[in-house]
Symmetry: C2
Subunit: 285 residues, 2 copies
């Protein structure tokens, strides 16, 4: 870890002491929850937080409760020292990296669930995922007590679930969505891209390509059902082993749209498995 790395705290009490001192001094606090394995996408969120608040806190916690038993919790990349160096480069003021025992002590029994927006798409493909996300994000925000919290649009459905629960539970925080950061080949930046082999990388780029083609077709007045079917077919043809979904949905609530030409604002969202890597992406229509 370089000497310029932000301080790292591992308990709620330490986190609150630091944030409380900033609040007492009249400084606004921005918060970016992450699972570590940081990339330029995360750093863009921290820059946005830093533009909105004097202080930027970043949490690093690979949350076990949002992974299903067969998913990649154990394999999920972890490199705290490198994360700390990257965070230093964007002016992060504090890293909060709790242990699983700090987050879920013995006897833990509470779950936050969001109906509606959490049910289709990744909610259907990953049972229990959004309950895990909703619960840990509620905890992290209430632990930190920021003025503003920033989440990437890469996990678009997650962003809507978080907006919903923050409004519904009256959590006093502003939620900001940040645009997807992409590599030069169009692939949305994701910690899971590290799983891709060299041979898979050009295939991975087809996910963004298929969604972009769907957006173009929809803008040209083609029917929703046609755009969805063509995009899914393109992914299968490109070599994705499984297409979980390609769907065009209402941008605000992920409501299903009619099969005909769309009424904006809409969002096209896709998830597909390439080798051992599950990729997701989405685009505004």
């Amino acid at each position: 870890m370089s000497s310029t790395s932000p301080p790292i705290v591992r308990t709620v009490a330490e986190l609150r002491a630091r944030v409380g001192a900033w609040r007492a001094a009249g400084e606004r606090v921005g918060f970016t929850p992450t699972m570590g394995a940081l990339h330029e996408g995360h750093l863009s969120l921290v820059r946005l937080a830093k533009a909105k608040a004097a202080r930027a806190v970043v949490s690093i916690f690979v949350n076990p409760t949002q992974f299903a038993p067969h998913e990649d919790f154990a394999a999920y990349p972890r490199n705290e020292a490198r994360d700390a160096e990257l965070l230093a480069s964007v002016g992060c003021d504090l890293i909060y990296a709790p242990t699983a025992a700090e987050m879920y002590p013995p006897g833990f029994a509470t779950t936050v669930t969001v109906a509606g927006v959490s049910e289709p798409l990744d909610g259907a493909a990953r049972p229990g995922h959004f309950a895990g996300v909703a619960t840990v994000v509620t905890k992290l925000i209430l632990q930190c007590g920021p003025d503003v919290a920033v989440f990437g649009e890469k996990d678009y459905q997650q962003l809507l679930v978080i907006r919903r629960l923050v409004a519904d539970l009256d959590i006093p925080v502003e939620i900001l969505g940040a645009p997807i950061a992409r590599a030069s080949d169009g692939v949305a930046l994701s910690s899971r891209n590290a799983y891709l082999t060299e041979a898979e990388r050009p295939i991975a780029a087809e996910l963004h390509g298929a969604l972009a083609a769907a957006v173009e077709a929809l803008r040209a007045g083609r029917p929703v059902a046609e755009a969805e079917v063509r995009a899914a077919a393109r992914l299968s043809a490109a070599g994705f082993a499984r297409v979980d979904y390609v769907e065009v949905r209402g941008a605000g609530d992920l409501a299903r749209l009619g099969p005909g030409p769309i009424r904006p604002p809409a969002r096209v969202l896709g998830a597909a498995v390439l080798g051992k890597t599950r990729l997701i992406d989405n685009l505004a229509v």
Copy 2:
């Protein structure tokens, strides 16, 4: 309403403006959520809040989501003017009386559930009840942002559910339990006692009597199962139409105890229906 009544606000924005001003002035804030129809039990909670904080906020909201369709939501007693006068008498500084639309606007979709402690007893007798309670209490506390919130031990299981969710979701508030206030005949004060007929009142007192006898038997070393069965039989014999439960449980987590002599701390809890009134009560062993 008398001229000395505390101000009444009906929106989260007004509530936060008032509480925010007190916090900014360095004053501690105590909070007592109620469903109105106030009695001496509620007033004892407000006095306790006032002893712990410079300012006392009381919410009055008959929460529809904690009543099952066949329960007494519509009939539940409401008398805001009288409640305001009573609250003035104990130094309440602010009444928060939101509408159902303020609490649950269109699109509301989030639920807080607590496993374990919410499952037996009233959790089994009233499906969905504690999810409604957990969600509304989470909202009310996050809306108000108090330093301390006070709940009565009359709803003992509810108090444990709230302690659990506040710890689990890291809500920055201290939860205080307050002892049960009783009438001279031993009946625990409850807004629902207003449903009792004159003829039912002495029968109602048997609930406390049966629980007190169970405590005595347990202290004398009698087995748990015997104490439970005898108390339930006494209630049936006294004229209760239905005994939902009389159980001796661990005081901290409501864990089931063995059938033999108890190891304290334990709590004996009972719920039974008399005419059209469902009564609950509990005692420390």
